[in-house]
């Protein structure tokens, strides 16, 4: 796979496998609906933060978010460790550096990026794959890596890992089964499909032109609805990676970035029927909407 050069993503230092030791302190946060069976636990430790994926791997992220060290459990597969490293730990470490990463996918439409944000299972990856198959390369499938360009004031999105993770039904419906795949990963039935000629990956950072929030509404035709800046701030903040949710200085920086994003990048909800035959119509609706948006902006800011 091609190495990506997203600013702020620390490399992985892999240590020999070891069992996961009981921690002295209680986790300060967890992911997972059932607190008795969390799928990620977060501990504050002297060195920084311990991010634990139970029975898979412990990651130690230093307090500045500059380094990540992994201790897999003895039977964890390297690809599973890499999966959690890329999709969860790197964006979390990046947040400690004051950089914004959103949970979503992004595609390049004529040199402008549109991001699709939403919860797992709402169709972000399928939508990105569909665009990438039809002339609009994807930048990322899981973490939308954002930086603000100090010279232009633009909000830039960096290309992430050159792969997409799809459920089997999406992979089949999009005819991507023959595309090169990454190794299977434990704990997720999704396949990692590598970028290539049939699934193009963008190579350079591009300005973020619009954010589309995927909802659970499924109208017969695609519907795009604008969100006001404050609504956008609420919605986008729910999709932002953030490792330390208690440090005042970091929260202030995070709030600053979300506010700038909501102020500068127009945000919309995108509702559409979740069946594969609807995807061409969704692509057309988004590209037309983006074109109209850019024309309006050009008129307002000639």
């Amino acid at each position: 796979m091609t190495a990506t050069t997203v600013p702020g993503l620390p490399p992985l230092t892999l240590q020999p496998a070891r069992p996961q030791a009981t921690q002295d302190s209680q986790p300060y946060h967890h992911w997972g609906e059932d607190p008795n069976q969390p799928w990620t636990l977060f501990y504050r430790v002297d060195e920084g933060y311990l991010v634990r994926f139970p029975d898979v791997v412990d990651f130690m992220i230093d307090a500045a978010g500059q380094s990540i060290v992994a201790w897999p459990v003895p039977d964890a597969t390297p690809d599973t460790v890499e999966h959690f490293f890329i999709n969860q730990c790197q964006p979390l470490a990046r947040s400690l550096q004051g950089r914004l990463t959103l949970h979503g996918s992004a595609v390049d439409i004529g040199g402008q990026v549109v991001a699709f944000l939403g919860h797992s299972g709402q169709g972000k990856s399928t939508l990105a794959a569909s665009f990438a198959q039809h002339g609009h390369p994807f930048l990322t499938d899981d973490g939308v890596y954002i930086d603000f360009d100090s010279a232009s004031g633009q909000c830039l999105v960096h290309p992430g890992h050159p792969s997409l993770r799809l459920w089997q039904d999406s992979e089949q419906a999009l005819a991507l089964t023959a595309q090169p795949h990454g190794s299977a990963v434990d704990h997720t039935p999704k396949a990692r499909i590598l970028a290539g000629e049939a699934l193009r990956h963008a190579q350079a950072p591009r300005p973020l032109a619009a954010i589309y929030l995927l909802s659970d509404q499924v109208p017969s035709q695609p519907v795009v609805t604008p969100l006001g800046p404050v609504q956008a701030l609420h919605a986008v903040s729910a999709q932002a990676f953030q490792l330390d949710t208690t440090d005042r200085q970091r929260l202030a920086s995070h709030f600053d970035q979300l506010s700038r994003l909501a102020d500068r990048v127009p945000c919309f909800t995108l509702d559409y029927a979740r069946h594969y035959e609807a995807l061409p119509g969704v692509r057309q609706a988004v590209t037309q909407h983006l074109r109209s948006l850019l024309q309006t902006e050009a008129t307002l800011n000639p």
């Binding site: 006001g228 800046p229 404050v230 701030l233 609420h234 903040s237 949710t245 005042r248 929260l251 202030a252 709030f255 600053d256 506010s259 909501a262 102020d263």
Partner: protein, 90 residues
């Protein structure tokens, strides 16, 4: 709620301009609260020690609105901000 009272911004409150509104973030709860342009002007004055009455005076200088309406709206805003812990009595 007495408009002659003075207030200070809560110690764990951050404020940022987003579009035409001011968004306040209460850090402990992580909740957002947005206020319009008039409310934003009130916030800027309240946090440097102005009383509700003084804020009403400033709003009337800037906007074409009668005193009774301003005072009613200001009382409502101050009550809301106090209840949410976003401002505290000085």
């Amino acid at each position: 709620m007495n408009l002659s009272d003075r207030y200070v911004a809560g110690p764990d409150v951050l404020a940022r301009q987003v579009g035409d509104e001011l968004v306040l973030l209460d850090l402990p709860s992580g909740t957002y609260f947005s206020i319009n342009a008039v409310g934003a002007q009130a916030w800027e004055l309240l946090k440097v020690g102005a009383s509700g009455t003084e804020v009403c005076d400033a709003v009337m200088q800037r906007f074409d609105v009668d005193r009774a309406t301003v005072e009613t709206d200001m009382t409502e805003l101050l009550t809301d901000l106090v209840e949410r812990g976003l401002i505290l009595p000085a």
